[in-house]
């Protein structure tokens, strides 16, 4: 299961809580606003990102399920 994290920067007010809850997914920039460091998340990082989204006072974070992952095309001789 993988999820995709997105920040709506027009909502974000720079509380910065998210980066403490989900350090593997978000980092804070010079002004204390979050930067998404890993968009596609799974496992622990995904769980933490969901918690960060729930904790955001401005509702600026969304985690959406990646429904179908497109299989990369592979040549027959590739493993």
């Amino acid at each position: 299961m993988t999820g995709r994290l997105r920040v709506d920067r027009t909502r974000c007010a720079g509380h910065g809580i998210c980066a403490f809850i989900a350090p593997g997914a978000l980092d804070l920039d010079a002004w204390g606003f979050p930067e998404v460091v890993a968009t596609e998340l799974s496992g622990d990082d995904l769980r933490r990102a969901r918690r960060a989204a729930a904790a955001c006072p401005r509702g600026a974070l969304t985690v959406s399920d990646v429904v179908s992952t497109v299989q990369p095309l592979r040549a027959p001789w590739e493993p």
């Binding site: 709506d8 920067r9 027009t10 909502r11 974000c12 007010a13 720079g14 920039d29 010079a30 002004w31 204390g32 606003f33 930067e35």
Partner: protein, 464 residues
Amino acid sequence: MTLALRPTEIAVDDGASPFGIGEQGARLLAGPIASAGAEPLGAHLARLGALPQVEVRQFLDEVAASGLAGRGGGGFPAARKVATARAAAAGKTVTVVVNASESEPASRKDRTLCALRPHLVLDGAAVAAALAGASSVVIYAHRGADAVAEAFRRAVAERRSSGLTDPVFHLGMGPARYVAGEASAAASWLAGGEAKPRALTAPLAAAGLSGQPTVVHNAETLAHLALLARFGASWWAAAGTPSSPGSRLVTVHGGDHGATVLEVVEPVTVGSLLEHAAAATATAADGWGRPGGPGSRGAGEPPVRAVLVGGYAGRFVDGAGVATLPCTTEGLALVGAAPGCGLLAPLSADACGVATAARLARWLAGESAGQCGPCLYGLADVAEALEALVAGTSSRRAVRTLRRLLGEVRGKGACHHPDGAVAMVESFLDVFAAEVDAHARRRRCPVGCAVPAWPLPQPEEAWR
């Protein structure tokens, strides 16, 4: 056709030597001379013929094949927006927006086109509406753009009384703010909200602000569509270059001398456009067309140090290369620039690039909608760093910090406002490296940090 404009008045035609036009003649600005004002409907139809009924599928392919790219600044393929809206149209209300806001303070090309050829723009809007399946069109302009509003009011009235089968035209006058002309900001305003850019999860053409497909096209883009419908893609794409086809309106900002709007039909260099604009301005001043005459840059004029290309959030290019730099998408890409909104603003050697960039950066920071933190705080920090250079309180180390800061701001907005501002400052640091270093070492500025007369309008307070 060449038009020399003062900021407050519209158009004087030099009538003598159409430039960048060659055998083909002007296209968007063909027809009566500029001092005649808006071309009336009767003259417009007599000159170009009635708008043909387009077969939607076929014409969509034609527009796609023509390679028409948006002329507002982004250069997005025009066919894709209408096709997206058409695909999403079932059970929805599609709206076409004529973006005539021209928020770039020094640009004049859209207001010139709208004031002189309103029917060409409205024809294009009608075609776009037919393609996208829209029954209504909103003409969106900034409050205070009275000449544009008046031209459209009259033109729409003419069309109604002549019984043309048109979509319903509305005129919407939004706040006079830089970012209010951005497509999602326009859509937000039309949906009853503030004219601020929005973070989109789907393209506006698929689902606009109230979930209804909204096709936002620049006024010049639509005028091109009107010519495409009449004369076809192969005629249309014979102008320009294979990878950026069609003619293009360009504004050459002339500082104190006002601005010149040119239609570039055949590829020309940036330098020759500047020269021609200078000659046209002289024409406007004394009433005589003398390309290469008193108005052109000659012995008395200081050389061009740099040219700001594509808008205030465009790129500076070195003046030394403009004589051979093609003013085409491919040519400008060689120096990291793009046509953008078609603005060329030359900065002469008797002005200070550092002080100019500081002014522009402060103005752009003030034009942030204040929604996204990195834009709101970052651009203010960038402006402050540049102002320190002007004040003589900066250092080489502070310049390195500024470069790092610029990297932190890039890509951090819901819209591209911060990205554009950052790119302008980065290009400034590259082109004016020697001046930046001299200011950082607190040497005396040889021109006393003089700035050119570029308009920096006071933003309107309201966002509705």
